[in-house]
């Protein structure tokens, strides 16, 4: 992906852009809001990674400016402030997702992939989600693996939907906590592992191959 990283902390910007480049992304760094708008006028980016606290122009203001100019590219906001009220402000301003520093680069990568993918859904019939042989219909609360209808608990169904929505890319623990449970905290119990395990058991009950890929330290993926 072609990414625009807006970050005034030069050291952090270098570390993050190197890590992202290691994941095959092209990264352009802008040190403040004006530089970001300039860069965005010159080049076309797939997504923007934006620090909340910037000199001269706040991150939220920059998002508003971009949106006013008709820019619909995904914006992922980074912040050192761990408070949820900032998150609300960021999302209200027009950002698509919001994460709190320090964030592992894998998390940023997974979220950017999800955001870009979500842009691609527009116009498509979003009634059913398909991931390989798995079919999920969130509206009807039903799912199939091949020809077998799955009998899933509420949580298992939400988990499978989220994985199917992002089929082909990894979904991190934090993303699952936010989107399946609605939690903005990390429980001490391994609830995700337990839930994935029980979902796996149901998926493979009839001897079908396990479609869920685990990547330690990153998250889970449904094969496409």
């Amino acid at each position: 992906m072609k990414l625009l990283l807006v970050e005034d902390d030069a050291e952090f910007a270098t570390t993050l852009s190197q890590s992202l480049e290691a994941l095959d992304h092209q990264v352009t760094v802008a040190a403040d809001g004006l530089a970001a708008i300039d860069a965005n006028d010159r080049e076309r980016f797939d997504a923007v990674i934006l620090d909340r606290m910037l000199p001269h122009m706040e991150g939220t203001t920059l998002v508003e400016r971009l949106r006013e100019r008709g820019q619909t590219l995904p914006v992922l906001m980074l912040s050192a402030l761990g408070h949820s009220i900032d998150k609300v402000d960021g999302l209200k301003a027009g950002a698509d997702d919001y994460i709190v520093k320090p964030t592992p680069v894998g998390e940023i990568d997974a979220r950017l992939t999800a955001l870009v993918r979500a842009r691609g859904w527009k116009g498509e019939g979003a009634n059913t989600l398909r991931a390989g042989r798995i079919l999920v219909n969130p509206g009807k609360h039903r799912a199939w693996y091949g020809d077998d209808a799955l009998d899933l608990s509420n949580l298992e169904f939400k988990l499978l939907s989220e994985l199917a929505r992002n089929a082909g890319s990894f979904v991190t623990r934090t993303m699952l906590l936010e989107r399946v449970w609605g939690y903005d905290f990390e429980p001490a119990t391994n609830i995700i592992e337990v839930q994935v395990r029980s979902l796996r058991r149901k998926l493979t009950a009839n001897g079908a191959p396990d479609p869920i890929v685990t990547k330690r330290g990153v998250g889970y993926m449904l094969e496409q």
Binding site: A80, G82, H83, S84, I85, V88, K101, P102, T103, P104, S153, N154, L155, W181, G182, Y183, D184, F185, E186, P187, A188, T189, N190, I191, V194, Q195, S198, R216, G217
Partner: protein, 457 residues
């Protein structure tokens, strides 16, 4: 103890007594003055009637009476001449009763035409004759009544004005005190932004409200400073820790690390523990800051409990615990669903961590009129009542060796969340085991939020 109220009533009673006494004294003084004047007049007239008349000359006296009765200045005076036995010899009035010697009062009941109240004088005029002279004390009919009524109205009005004034004053004082009390209550309930309204016209109340608000501003600034420092410390330490954790994860993946994997995993776990501690510190600071109040919405505790049980049931089973809880009817409160979920998850995880395998953890949501409660009880060893307060203190872990998992911030965080919602966290004995109860205020009737609608769909 003298209360303001009893002081006020004593003051009003004394004031009423003094006013009534003054009214009575004024009335009697004017009454006595009029009586004195009338007595002097009839004395003078009686002198004039008898002046120069031979003692016993009844005819001469009657002739004078007749003359006086037709004079403009004495035309209103009544006279009666009697003999020594009290028999009427003549005069311009006829008395129904005997009049005592000297001065006395007469009234309308004495049957004297045209007289409602007056004075009479009986004197011996010599020669076995008595002269009775009578004059009206009232310039108009019912004068005494009118006078009494006017006094009542006048002094009554004074009483009324003072009573109304005092009541209004008491009301204003009570309202101002009420505002200060409401502010104090709001502060105690966690709304640190609340301030006493300052009266626009200034004065002592405005000065007092400003002083109070100034104190609250100062307290809030100090608390903000403290919170900020703790947040910044936690935050600044979190970044290098996250980096360290990343390095460990990379190291664990390296093929050469096979022999060290167990050690690396343990180090990663320690990192996670520290990160969890910092997250808890930051979360407590956030909750105590009160900003999350902006996200309050109707929440059904029963459905929240159902979701938490579904989330944790299998994890509990893996450690040999049984997690139960039956949702009955919805219990609506106004709150932050995410935080309430975190509080409940924390309490259940706390119970799972501190009880041996085979224990049962029970969650119950109840409503008793205006109060809602969420109780997480286990049948483990419990906490001695003497240690309950310490368990709620930050880092106040009861395990002296600190070998057990947990950062000692779980219960304080739950407590902070309860406080944010105007509630409280209490620890009790589940006999055996620990019962942790969050008590909250039920949402007012008619509040039916998207939370319940969501659950039912």
């Amino acid at each position: 103890m003298t209360s303001l109220r009893s002081l006020l009533f004593a003051f009003l009673a004394l004031f009423a007594a003094a006013t009534a006494l003054t009214g009575y004294a004024t009335y009697s003084a004017s009454h006595a003055a009029i009586t004195g004047l009338v007595d002097a007049r009839i004395d003078l007239v009686a002198d004039a009637i008898t002046d120069g008349v031979r003692p016993g000359d009844a005819a001469a006296i009657l002739a004078r009476i007749d003359r006086f009765a037709h004079r403009r200045d004495t035309g209103d005076i009544g006279f009666e001449l009697e003999d020594v036995r009290g028999r009427r010899l003549g005069g311009n009035v006829a008395l129904a009763r005997a009049i005592a010697p000297g001065y006395s009062s007469v009234s309308g009941s004495d049957g004297i035409a045209g007289l409602t109240a007056g004075r009479a004088e009986r004197r011996d005029v010599g020669g076995g004759l008595r002269l009775i002279t009578i004059a009206e004390t009232e310039p108009v009919d019912g004068y005494a009544f009118i006078r009494a009524r006017n006094y009542m109205i006048g002094f009554g009005a004074i009483m009324l004005i003072v009573l109304t004034g005092t009541a209004t004053f008491a009301l204003i004082v009570r309202r101002r005190i009420g505002e200060v009390r409401a502010t104090a209550a709001a502060i105690v309930n966690g709304d640190l932004q609340h301030r006493v309204p300052v009266p626009a016209r200034g004065g002592a109340f405005a000065a007092q409200a400003e002083a109070f608000n100034h104190m609250l501003d100062r307290v809030a600034a100090l608390m903000d400073g403290l919170r900020q420092v703790s947040s910044e410390v936690a935050h600044d330490l979190r970044t290098p820790l996250a980096r360290l954790r990343g390095r460990l994860a990379l190291a664990a993946d390296a093929p050469t690390a096979a022999a060290m994997r167990h050690e690396i995993e343990q180090a990663t776990e320690q990192c996670d523990m520290l990160l969890a501690t910092f997250s808890a510190i930051l979360r407590i600071a956030e909750v105590e800051g009160g900003d999350r109040r902006a996200r309050f919405a109707p929440v059904d505790l029963a459905s929240l409990m159902g979701e938490v049980i579904e989330t944790l049931r299998d994890a509990a089973a893996e450690t040999g615990h049984r997690l139960t809880g039956a949702a009955t009817h919805p219990v609506q409160i106004i709150g932050d669903r995410g935080l309430l979920a975190q509080a409940l998850v924390n309490l259940v995880e706390n119970a799972l961590t501190h009880t041996p395998a085979g224990s049962v953890v029970t969650v119950a949501v109840a409503q008793d009129r205006g109060r809602a409660s969420v109780c997480v009880a286990d049948n483990g060893l419990g906490i001695a009542p003497a240690d309950h307060a310490r368990a709620l203190r930050r880092f106040g872990r009861l395990d002296p060796s600190r070998h057990r998992p947990g950062h000692g911030l779980g219960l304080p965080l739950v407590q902070a969340i309860a406080h944010l919602h105007g509630g409280a966290l209490t620890l009790g004995d589940a006999g055996p085991g620990l019962a942790a109860t969050i008590s909250l205020t039920v949402a007012p009737r008619g509040v039916e939020g998207p939370a319940t609608a969501d659950l039912r769909s």
